[in-house]
């Protein structure tokens, strides 16, 4: 199956819902204008390559405040940038890895195999889609009214 020809929106919503509910006990809901990211807040930016069945990429853009909340929920402690940045990067990488697997499981027939690469995660000053990924699809979600993006690109 060619992933480039699939509409991933529904699968992405199911996947991000499943991942956050199971791993962080949080509910991801569709986001609106009121959940738009603050351009002045640093974001955690992740991406993970998919090699098969179609070269594609999955990513997340999570504002720092929400990233700390997610990491705190997973690690069951209060996280701060000063003390826990490495752990937050690891949490976001693992969330991306799990999201990618969950998304492909939703998109592909049960017996179709897929191959994922390793995730990468970094903090950037502000999010600019055109600078990072010129041709990706952005899906806006929110957790407790804090917006974040799931990203998708298939070549």
């Amino acid at each position: 199956m060619d992933l480039a020809s699939i509409n991933v929106q529904e699968g992405m919503s199911e996947a991000i819902g499943e991942v956050l509910e199971n791993m962080a006990f949080m509910e991801a809901l569709p986001g609106g204008e009121e959940n738009a990211l603050d351009p002045d807040e640093p974001v955690f930016y992740t991406r993970l390559p998919i090699y098969k069945p179609t070269p594609s990429t999955v990513g997340l853009v999570v504002p720092q405040g929400l990233a700390l909340s997610l990491a705190g929920a997973l690690m069951m402690k209060e996280c701060t940038m000063d003390e826990d940045e490495f752990e937050v990067l690891d949490v976001l990488s693992e969330l991306t890895n799990t999201l990618a697997g969950s998304l492909l499981t939703h998109l592909l027939p049960e017996l179709d195999s897929f191959e994922l690469g390793l995730p990468e995660c970094r903090v950037i000053g502000n999010w600019d889609t055109k600078r990072e990924w010129s041709d990706c699809q952005e899906f806006l979600y929110q957790v407790d009214e804090q917006g974040f993006y799931c990203l998708w690109r298939s070549h």
Binding site: N22, L74, N97, G101, L104, T105, L108, L111, D112, L118
Partner: protein, 126 residues
């Protein structure tokens, strides 16, 4: 009971450890490895009663870890639980043929892990 968890993500190791602690009623000691090579070294030095491994890991991946456990006279027969984001039906069959005892798809939770442990217990009894 000694359980070795191999995953390159510290978050995943911690999360799986918490799920196992909830699922198991006995005392458990955990060993942790961030790739298959570290896992093999720990198995040779310390041993374990169960291996829980991811697939996608740098240095030596989960598939190769399963192969090497199966090929080792000392480690052959060791129960292996795979917890992976690539755990669809196609991958599950491939890994079971390779030597995994149970294959679970991320995200897992304590209930799913408990079912996996039951499957391993049942297979041990066969």
């Amino acid at each position: 009971m000694n359980i070795l968890i191999a995953d390159d993500s510290g978050t995943a190791r911690m999360f799986i450890k918490q799920c196992l602690e909830i699922s198991l009623e006995e005392d458990v000691a955990f060993l942790e490895a961030s790739n298959g090579q570290e896992a093999l070294q720990l198995l040779k030095n310390a041993g374990a009663d169960l291996v829980v491994t991811d697939l996608n890991m740098p240095v030596l991946d989960g598939r190769e870890l399963i192969r090497r456990i199966g090929a080792s006279p000392k480690l052959h027969g060791l129960p292996i639980m795979v917890i992976t984001s690539s755990g669809n039906e196609a991958r599950k069959q491939e890994l079971l043929e390779l030597g995994a005892w149970v294959v679970l798809r991320k995200p897992v939770n304590p209930m799913v892990i408990a079912e996996g442990l039951e499957t391993i217990t049942a297979k041990k009894g066969d």
